[in-house]
Symmetry: D3
Subunit: 227 residues, 6 copies
């Protein structure tokens, strides 16, 4: 259950080094490294292609059609943070635009992940401030009802605690619990390590069937080849 | 209720200067200037990023799977117009492609807004003819049933009268009633005027909380900070 | 009804020359040339803009959350093929990523069409390996349950037989039955032949109403002009 | 464009007799009688099966997550009215429940049509107060921001003026402009008049092909029968 | 690829006895008996609860907003048939209502399965004529463009040949190829045979874990119990 | 992040009396009593109308197309529990049918809430075993991959801990954290207490505008009445 009308000022951010290093591994590898869990639903899409970031979560709970708490959240941002916003109900309004982005960027935020809507996407693209969102909409919002900042919340089907690591790129958005950041980084690096070798083999024409020794299991499962 | 089988030839277009000047303000600012009304639903998306236009509406009511009335509409286009098309039922066929775009462009149309589907999007992009649409589909259409041209209609949830101003960009599509065009332009310009100053302040690290004097109202609404 | 657990090794591919030549005509023209049938549903979208391909279908039936059969399919790929994958149930997982793409590309595949999900889209874009898909998702898959390769299947509402020609571009994906490839190519070329002339006329301001002699039929259908 | 913060007290309701008589003809027949226009989108569904009503529209424009204006609208209801509510943005909250229904019913309202959400559906069913809605949700709303009452608005894709006739049943919701109510009633009655005879013929095994003399037109259109 | 403008008069219907007997087994059991294939997408829903039918397919390909071919199909119906209709593009119009249902019923049809829309659902319910459909809509249709009758087609993601067995109930719609009808009936009966015994055991408190001997495989897969 | 392959046997269930008493208050009142938070998304719908239950949550994390863990969960059910199941990815298969329901009911479960799919809905209705679900589908599932039982999980956008109270009825599904059950019950009872009086006033024609003293605030907000 969400606590409304509160701002937690002191949150425990994940290990900085791990939080920063996860970006280059990407959401797919990180998701695998966590055992295929922690992913936001695929309707969360970047407003422009190519951005790939990671950072520590500052969370925001919004009310429908009301972006007041994003202003409150700005003050809680520290360099290296990614703001993660959810709404108490499905809403596609443009809660976030270029002015808030200027403020967030000045505070050191790397991105916004918002299960709602965003606007001014052309300017945000020029500012190089990436947003993962459910909708793009010119529709503005009011400032009338309280939500909360830095409470645990559900964003696009994923549970996010303040301070968790967010990894976002063209494939989607993954949440890594703060205390698992270092371990996940190690596991992801390990996965990545032998990808180059695999890629070279596959590029040379070796089949996954042979490289992963799948022929036996497939036969055992009953696969039949028909000429 | 829609009148079927009619073409209104003489429509009252909005003030040309205002209709043209609204483009550079963009759909989000114009939408704010109108008091947050007049927006099409956010499923209307541009076929390519970056287009930003405004113009006067020529409206078209289509029948499902039938683009006959777009040919009829072409004749009614005057330079500076934007064609706005709706369908009597949900339909995602590709009603519009490069040949019709060539004709529309030759007549002086600046864009098409269609609550249905569009095709030949690669060529339309090369032609620099923007389309806001609900779907992209290769599916062609027949020419068998009458709709209407230049009647008031509902497109993506917004009421459009022929001659109204349409403002469309990456954030969406806004409709400005013809008689409010000038007033909306003034209001939008006024909003824009002090945005530069605000942006500079926010970029320097000033918080919206302080710039907009939100701390008092937030406290009054009961917001609690927890350390 | 689908046959499960089988791989057909010898499939009858469409005429190579026709299969290759259809790409440049594009999905919209090919769809028209076939009498407006054979199109996949418009939720199948390319992961990047601009790709335009044709090739012969290798079909794959997948189980939800399980990409085992894509590895099996890799072995059946011949140069000039396009892999067409469907799933026994709606599923948006990322069944396909850069390693499989490396393997498919090494085998000579030109593209993947998958009614499910895809990941590593940034790398796939850099590799110039186009994918038409219903979803983008970091979510990985297991390898535990059999599907089939090279059986007739339904993908995004279209029936695909192994060896059929697939034509895919920014407008969508069309399926041309193998035995109709040559005839469809001729019909599509014929359509294309006089498009240049039509385009020139329209660009000069001639109306479709006159070029297509629509005024009579419109009057007969009861269209009224009101001044 | 919507006017915000206003309540029009004196609206011109459609002819009472026609408004009342349209119910028994049903939305499908009325829709045909109007030439197949004026229908709300099919995502508007009744909360229980079997209700069939007509009445004069009192319109309400709501803000997301805020049902204040429904209370304002209650005062404007006269016996025989149907309240039609839209929201400035997509929102599925439960704006309406059993208390408001008690009030509406006491004022003489026959139904609610709301492009948003509704709750207490079990009680509403027991009260025999029908609601056509886009969503059912326990989510309550606040009372903080103004909308309007009795302005023309777009509800589920249809334009509704205060005083128009609303016809709603299991098939959907149709809007009949006030001034066309009598004429539409006559046209609908005429349609209905010979339906009984048609039904008897079809029930006896006569084919529509013969009853409607379709064989000639079908042959002319090129239909081929293959044995 | 669909053939347009044709009506196949002589189709090979599945074994009558098997086609009739499959109804009482229901779509879920039949679907299992076929190896979990042949199911239409779950957006196909019955217009009223409780109907459970099977029969042989008469197929109809429709054009958007045009129900002409349903009249043509009526003549091809034989007692025990179920009409299966698809549209060349997504369309939710009300193609089918009480008059056509009267005709279909008079010809001996048991149901309609239509990937499009239906209307007059209250009357259809009273007539006890079940329809599985994607949408309910008052929107009527024209009679202007040819489709086909009794060609193989894709309906809601499933391939249907004329004469195949259709099994439909509250859980969905399954297609059984004509030549597999008898074999599927036997397999479904076999499944059903020992369900009573299983149900009795489970009702007495025996766990599926024990009844299906799952504890070993679960342990082997690595499941851990934590107290 | 989800822990996979684990079953927690000892969970802390909410106060029994409170968990049982919340049912009769219903999801809307309980949701209000919690400050309008804790609601599942409105796409979770009951398979039949009229069920109204509450109970303590046993949670299950499923893999797509695989219902193995529902069998594991059955053993963990105690009388008064409601099983809450989520899937690692969007999936509409029929994970649950009459056999599992027989087992769940024998163990004392009151309902299932599943963000996936369900089948055998006619039999479940006859058994009086309610299910809230995202989809109905005949599609069966395999038993091959581990999920977990009694871990905290996100179901339809709401965070659920094992032992939390679930309140479900025709309006939706609300989650009450175990430790807040008693307090929420008190708050909900308090709300309910004066509803009867309010209802009587509204039924007698008193307006909410007067009963809630809204006229002043509306005037202050700027509402204008126009005659």
């Amino acid at each position: 259950m969400y606590e409304l009308g509160v701002v937690y000022r002191n949150i425990q951010r994940a290990d900085r080094e791990a939080a920063d290093a996860l970006a280059k591994l990407g959401s797919a590898t990180v998701h695998e490294a966590m055992g295929r869990v922690g992913l936001m639903k695929p309707y969360m899409r970047p407003i422009y292609a190519g951005a790939q970031v990671s950072g520590t979560a500052v969370t925001v709970l919004l009310q429908p059609g009301d972006n007041w708490m994003l202003h409150v959240a700005a003050e809680q941002i520290q360099p290296g943070d990614i703001v993660v916003a959810a709404c108490t109900t499905d809403n596609t309004d443009g809660f976030f635009g270029d002015l808030l982005a200027t403020s967030f960027q000045a505070r050191g935020a790397r991105a916004l992940v918002i299960e709602a809507g965003c606007r001014d996407v052309k300017t945000l693209t020029e500012m190089n401030f990436p947003v993962w969102t459910k909708a793009i909409s010119s529709k503005g919002t009011v400032k009338a009802t309280l939500g909360s900042v830095n409470i645990p919340l559900v964003c696009a089907g994923a549970l996010v605690h303040p301070g968790d690591v967010i990894v976002a790129d063209d494939d989607g958005v993954v949440v890594v619990p703060a205390k698992l950041a270092r371990k996940t980084l190690d596991a992801a690096n390990a996965r990545e390590a032998n990808e180059g070798e695999k890629r070279a083999k596959l590029a040379s024409g070796v089949l996954g069937l042979d490289m992963y020794s799948m022929r036996g299991p497939l036969e055992k499962a009953g696969l039949k080849y028909i000429d």
